[in-house]
Symmetry: C2
């Protein structure tokens, strides 16, 4: 059990001082995208951090029937209970509670409903071959959630304390985790501002809660490659914006472009940025491309850098780490760098584009067949009967091996 | 009573077809900011629009005591009742209800809490000298709310039907409107996505509700000029984004920069955009500047154009209309154009900057004394003992005259 309470609850984010506002110089031709806001150490320590020893558990008297795993739809069915931790500016984090899953009663003036004081995480609990419940890199989720919260003036918390509570919650709900490969319990830590006020300011009260939804494999019958619409008429994120934080604010505005792409037969948007048409993200996933270098022929696995407009995905980070560990020795170059849609299209034209895939918690990897761009269909290297490239397939295997505890690894946290 | 039901309920916004995605050409030196998404005619008419004839009213049995108007804090106290209208994808808009003010019961997986499916309006009801309740340009608010809703895949509605319902609601709550000048009833129409799902997609159910909060004058003892911090390290809005819609998503990300500015003694952020440092908005208000032309000496009242990054404020529109009606004949040039912080600072240095003010529903106008920019304090033309320039003062008088019905005008809607 982790009990290393860090003295950092409270509101942690501060803008840089006036003299340090622009760490990067701007040029007229090349918009610089690295001046995103970074969280710093807590400026106002609160008296009470999240304290797992104060947890109270009220079990439901009406347990739900388990669904046939084959019928599960992502995020529709939830487990018996939920974890809640209230925060007030006066008292800090109150005693955590596990209660029966239930509706939240919110004042119609609650600030979450008006000004989007909300952030969340997506993570999964897995059952290993011995029946243990495991989380995958929960420290990364908690670190990101604290950054998201601080960016919108919501309180931060001790990551280890909340991991401890989530572990207890996941174990309590373990009967909802099917023990087949590919199945898991999707966990949704969420924080909302609850203060009743229409004044725009830092919320004086908040609620951190975690709900859980059993989910099946993203591709129940094996990979199914998707096709993307390169999107330039709507822009997901901007330098100085909040595209690198997991805020509700980043999601609703992307739904209509997604619906539009779908109406033209494309499953996801590929978000481009700027007149250079940099490739940023795909739908709600990070984007990876594998191609051969034009001059040297060296294989390169590349993804956009964390310049403030890219969500720092846990799967993205895991793929990069695995690539450096296992692909670099095979001669691959592993790159976090800006790249353009033109570069991808050229590589495709010249037969150098090996494969492309999205990366995220839901699917781990999501292979890409084609990208619609400026009236052409860019072929991403899969043959007609292939649904995944080799790298995506190997990555999925490596990551699942650690998620399900087949390989003992520090990324896997036994609850 | 307005009862002109327009057949446009449903989801109205569609991205332009692929060939029309970029109406403006892009140049390397001058980022073009006019390719914001525009709503179009409804693509999927729903069977039922909002129908005021189906309104049911349940009055409270516990009426609230009226507060001393002098003690009112913006958006903290609410009236006895609220107006609610539910929507489902299957049935369209259900029967409107006026009920006692009460908490909303929301599933913890409701999409508003995760993906910021939320938009709102700010408008006011005034009591005229005959005791009539009046709304100010409610058609503008409803038009904008439909655009906001459509942009995030929430349902649209007949503006006239909702104005009818808001009028009935405001009349029912008229005892909460103090009849002194400067007082009013702040109305907050809000729409949220209510579907219980963690899948990111168009909400299958929604709730439109209106709550009301009695408010006093923004400046109870006369104008008090504010000072601003020109902000470049955080960006409120960008081309292809949603800065021109009244979405919750635009608000939470601005609170920390606002807190930071306040910690340095500045009441609001002045949001700059791009390396050119265009002046866009001030806090949650539109920005106006009055200056003399460098060459001709002609007086110019200017504000940023509606290029997709600027909120189309009702007060902004009213000021522009009044300026064209009353100031242009006095020789003023009235401009909606891009202007830079450098331009403002130069005008100040050369004694050509006459005044600057924010414009919004809360304050009508909010005079600006100084702007902190690149280590200098730009003086906005007020002398030491002045709290407002002449134009701000005249605008406030003209607008209040129409709001309170002193001047009969089409902008004022008698409930």
């Amino acid at each position: 059990m982790l009990r290393q309470l860090l003295p950092r609850a409270g509101r942690a984010w501060r803008a840089p001082a006036a003299r340090q506002l622009l760490p990067c110089s701007l040029s007229a031709r090349q918009p610089v995208r690295c001046y995103s806001i970074q969280p710093e150490a807590a400026s106002r320590a609160k008296p009470l951090d999240v304290d797992p020893s104060r947890l109270s558990i009220t079990k439901t008297s009406a347990t739900k029937e388990l669904k046939d795993p084959a019928t599960l739809i992502f995020g529709r069915e939830f487990t018996d209970h939920m974890l809640t931790i209230e925060w007030t500016q006066q008292d800090g984090w109150l005693a955590p509670q596990i209660t029966p899953y239930q509706n939240l009663s919110l004042d119609p003036a609650a600030c979450v409903l008006h000004y989007a004081f909300e952030c969340f995480e997506g993570m999964k609990a897995y059952k290993d071959k011995n029946g243990n419940v495991r989380l995958f890199r929960p420290d990364k989720n908690m670190e990101r959630m604290n950054k998201s919260a601080a960016r919108i003036a919501l309180p931060t918390f001790s990551p280890t304390a909340v991991i401890d509570l989530i572990s207890q919650f996941a174990k309590l709900e373990s009967r909802f985790i099917p023990d087949q490969r590919g199945y898991s319990l999707y966990l949704r830590p969420t924080m909302i501002g609850t203060q009743k006020t229409l004044g725009v300011g830092p919320p004086g009260s908040a609620l951190l809660y975690v709900i859980a939804s059993p989910v099946g494999p993203y591709y129940p019958t094996g990979f199914k490659a998707v096709s993307l619409e390169a999107t330039d008429y709507a822009v997901r994120a901007w330098p100085g914006g909040v595209g690198d934080k997991k805020l509700g604010a980043n999601y609703a505005p992307c739904v209509v472009p997604q619906t539009e792409a779908a109406s033209r037969g494309f499953q996801q948007n590929l978000w481009l940025f700027g007149e250079q048409e940099y490739v940023t993200e795909v739908g709600t996933m990070n984007m990876f491309v594998a191609m051969k270098n034009k001059e040297t022929g060296q294989k390169e696995l590349l993804t956009a850098p964390l310049d403030g407009t890219i969500l720092p995905g846990v799967t993205r980070d895991s793929i990069l780490a695995l690539a450096r560990e296992k692909l670099a020795p095979e001669g691959w170059m592993i790159s976090e760098r800006k790249y353009t849609m033109k570069e991808v299209a050229e590589a495709a034209d010249e037969g150098r584009l090996m494969e492309a895939f999205g990366a995220g918690t839901a699917a781990i990897v999501s292979p890409v067949r084609k990208i619609s761009w400026k009236g052409q269909l860019v072929d991403c290297g899969l043959s007609e009967h292939e649904e995944s490239g080799e790298i995506a397939l190997r990555m999925k295997g490596w990551i699942e091996g650690r998620q399900y505890g087949d390989e003992e690894h520090e990324w896997s946290h036994v609850c």
